[in-house]
Subunit: 522 residues, 2 copies
């Protein structure tokens, strides 16, 4: 007993020492969040053309997390979960309009008509950090609500350069306004107007601007006493794809690859900037993506490597994310963590590393990855795969049980929208909502990462494992307090007609308020 105690103390001491040795007070934090980039888009995760030398180097210098997930297979809910540390079902980024709907259109259909956004009651990561003296900047896509009350500067960020929605367009500014790009609290122009994207050639300087903005921010912060949190959420790999002229045609993968190459280069430059400014050893960097690659984009989309289906689905391809942690001098180079991680964990991890307190008045789904980063330990935790208001699947250890399965409706599928192109698993990638809660579909995603080979219910393995999984499900459901659904109501009047600061450009006239229940196709 005495020996055990001694060991415990020693380990604990080591941990503290390791951080204390390299971190002067609060470390800086950088999240490099990609948009619709897939697990299989990075060389280090198996992309056959090996076009991400900077990310591969980041991985070689840091720690990869091959078992890391987004909280949702869709942009908005995933990002809301990242910043709130909580599942969308809790923070409100879901809909109850129809069962298990993602609450977000796949196509270019009115992305700005949603009336909801991040509730004030959510305590976002930048809000917690701000109270601890951090300077917070968002560069790129927000996606937690585009109406002014939901803007980043109202929810903990000090600075913002980027857009509240996806860069769809061009619109006519009559029926639909183009999406604004903000510089802090006011718009600095609109996509396809001041911020060009040539949809024919794919050329745009946006990633270049986002990189420059990050470099300037890092440079500006160095020397100041306050630590910083940079949330770099570039969106070049989200449809419509774009890259700057230097990168166009440089990839073997077409425009999608060009966009990846520019993002890869940009990540390399941001890390270099941390080194050049001497803050690399004091900055925790995480690279990841908001959801699986949009396989329905066909050759214009990314790759989910060996995983099934993609964005929009709760198969592994929809939520397994290419994740790399980088913290020179603290995280050992070339490590692999088999911690089952979630983007929501960044919330908990960063707050803990900064010495802050996790809110105790609510459920927080994120766990701390501190021990995983420092000592490569692994903590058991279940992982919940939601689609809209439905718990579709759960992972416990290397087992994954699907309580519900479906990809999209047969009507949509017949119209050419395919979330699993070339991948059909009978009884799994179904086009109607299948309720399997009485006998969930069980997979071992260690030996079968592609969710191809069901473990039959008659097998001993199934009988042994399934009750343990259902225990986790019941536990989870028992304590669940759903948030107020934010994606139920739509209204054309809330579109980006007259964003703050529009006077410097042009303010548009929208229709009168006419809220209605949104209809989500899948």
């Amino acid at each position: 007993m005495a020996a055990c105690l001694k060991l415990f103390i020693t380990l604990y001491y080591c941990t503290c020492f390791m951080i204390a040795g390299v971190v002067d007070g609060k470390p800086n934090f950088v999240i490099l969040l990609m948009d619709d980039m897939g697990w299989g888009d990075l060389g280090v995760f198996g992309e056959p053309n090996k076009e991400t030398p900077y990310l591969d180097k980041m991985a070689a210098e840091g720690m990869i997390f091959p078992d890391f997930y987004s909280a949702n297979p869709l942009c908005s809910p995933s990002r809301a979960a990242l910043l709130s540390g909580r599942l969308p079902i809790r923070n409100g980024f879901y809909t109850t309009n129809a069962h298990a709907r993602n609450g977000k259109a796949v196509l270019n259909l009115y992305p700005q008509i949603i009336t909801g956004g991040i509730p004030d009651s959510e305590i976002l990561l930048p809000e917690v950090l701000k109270k601890m003296g951090y300077r917070n900047k968002l560069i790129g896509k927000w996606h937690l609500g585009h109406r002014p009350q939901y803007h980043p500067l109202k929810h903990g960020f000090d600075e913002w350069f980027g857009a509240p929605n996806c860069h769809f367009g061009p619109y006519d500014d009559i029926d639909t306004p183009n999406i604004p790009v903000y510089k802090d609290a006011e718009m600095a122009g609109r996509y396809y107007e001041e911020f060009a994207i040539d949809k024919k050639t794919g050329e745009s300087n946006l990633t270049k601007m986002y990189l420059n903005e990050a470099q300037q921010f890092i440079k500006k912060q160095v020397g100041k006493k306050e630590p910083f949190f940079l949330y770099w959420a570039a969106d070049a790999t989200h449809d419509p794809l774009y890259a700057s002229s230097n990168f166009l045609g440089m990839s073997k993968r077409g425009l999608y690859g060009d966009a990846v190459k520019e993002l890869d280069y940009s990540v390399g430059q941001i890390l270099q900037s941390l080194k050049d400014n001497g803050v690399d050893k004091n900055t925790v960097v995480f690279f990841s993506s908001d959801n699986g690659a949009a396989t329905y984009a066909k050759t214009g989309g990314g790759s989910n490597g060996p995983f099934l289906c993609g964005k929009q689905t709760t198969f592994e391809g929809g939520m397994r994310e290419p994740t790399i942690a980088w913290w020179p001098g603290v995280v050992q180079p070339g490590k692999v963590s088999h911690q089952v991680g979630s983007l929501m964990d960044l919330y908990t991890t960063f707050i803990e590393l900064a010495g802050g307190n996790i809110p105790t008045d609510r459920e927080v789904d994120g766990i701390s990855l501190k021990d995983a980063l420092l000592n490569n330990t692994v903590t058991d935790r279940p992982l919940f795969y939601y689609r809209g208001n439905e718990l579709m699947a759960v992972r416990v250890g290397l087992y994954k049980a699907h309580l519900w399965t479906w990809t999209n409706s047969i009507k949509e599928f017949n119209a050419g929208i395919d979330f699993c192109p070339g991948e059909e698993i009978e009884g799994v990638t179904t086009h109607e909502q299948m309720n399997n809660t009485n006998q969930p579909l069980l997979f071992h995603i260690g030996r079968d990462p592609g969710e191809k080979y069901m473990i039959r219910p008659s097998l001993e393995e199934y009988k042994k494992v399934m009750p343990l999984i259902m225990e986790q499900v019941n536990q989870h459901k028992k304590n669940l307090v759903p948030g107020k659904p934010q994606l139920n109501m739509c209204d054309r009047s809330v579109m980006n007609w007259s964003p703050p600061g529009c006077e410097k450009f042009k303010c548009l006239q929208g229709p009168s308020p006419a809220p209605y229940k949104c209809s989500w196709p899948h």
Copy 2:
């Protein structure tokens, strides 16, 4: 003109200097050839559980070839091509019994009834090297003919420890003899008798023996003046899978993963052995696999990562191989070569590096990878995908055209044999032989490595590319001189009844000769 010439000479000089600087005369060669291991089975190529630390380290210290292929999607023809530098259609490892048949049974059906083997007229790599003073050893599977006249020691190898066929069994030694394991020219026992494989637990010490044999050989050769060629052809990832007790249960991937982990460890030990004996800088090592993973083995098989289908097929999953070159001090660490390579290139490359001459009295399909290894240059070359006697597909640059498509017969498919489980591409993974020669199916495997999205013949891209590809096909067919087919005839009398040296164990009585035309199912 003078400037060009000068540049050429300088480059040429550099190349020579680089080799001369580190290689004292003829380098040693090591081929680490896996059996049915897939592209997606290595961490460095994207396996999600990241269970190959030694191979990943080998890649970090060496050069990976993500565009590297076997010459055939099946063991025997692939291995015959590797050692002869020639396509199976030339060296005879094919059948004309039926159109486009692989000429090798998928299941455990009489693998030893084939009467043919490597013709004496083929000049194998060890034969060329032997004449140049090399000591050649084969450890593991031969597969170029099990009758004594075809044995390795009759075709250039000085030493052999391993088996002529797959390790199927156990047989009854009455109807079917167990496969022998040879020590040089004589058998040293049989599988399931002297060489145990526990099919219930998967335990066997064979990989351990193969590792030990390699380490002893390297140690023995060091200090001798003669260079060596070690062909290490372990087979633990071929059905029936096995691993030694230390590795059983160690993988997240089940027994297949245990086998991979032991092979990974063994590769690490072999490289370490080269270092410990001070010959690492003078030894060219290539790691690869003989064909794609056997996806029909379901959870008991490997992964072909993002590629379509697997072993037996001419889709990328059948022939794209996880390939790493390692030559400390010569090949720069952490490099990626986009050379379209083939296992047949090892023939040409090794002979050139040893200062020998490639046979000029016949077509050799392998090209030299010397410049790729030393200077990371890329040489254009077409790649031909055969199945039996039919040219199924061709790759030119990043385009791949399927002249014929099929996976297996609908009868077999309905009986549960599926070469593309969970992967069905309409009109591509067909169950009848589709002749597309008039309008080949075209794919861009840079942006679409999974061969999911056909480039429609109506597109400009198709019209531009297809004639260039067909030019290569016509050129190839014009010069083709097929070898005498070795896989046409079967005879139960040629099975391993009484291998050389059987007297020390037991010699079995086989039936009288009764040759018949083999029937190959796919």
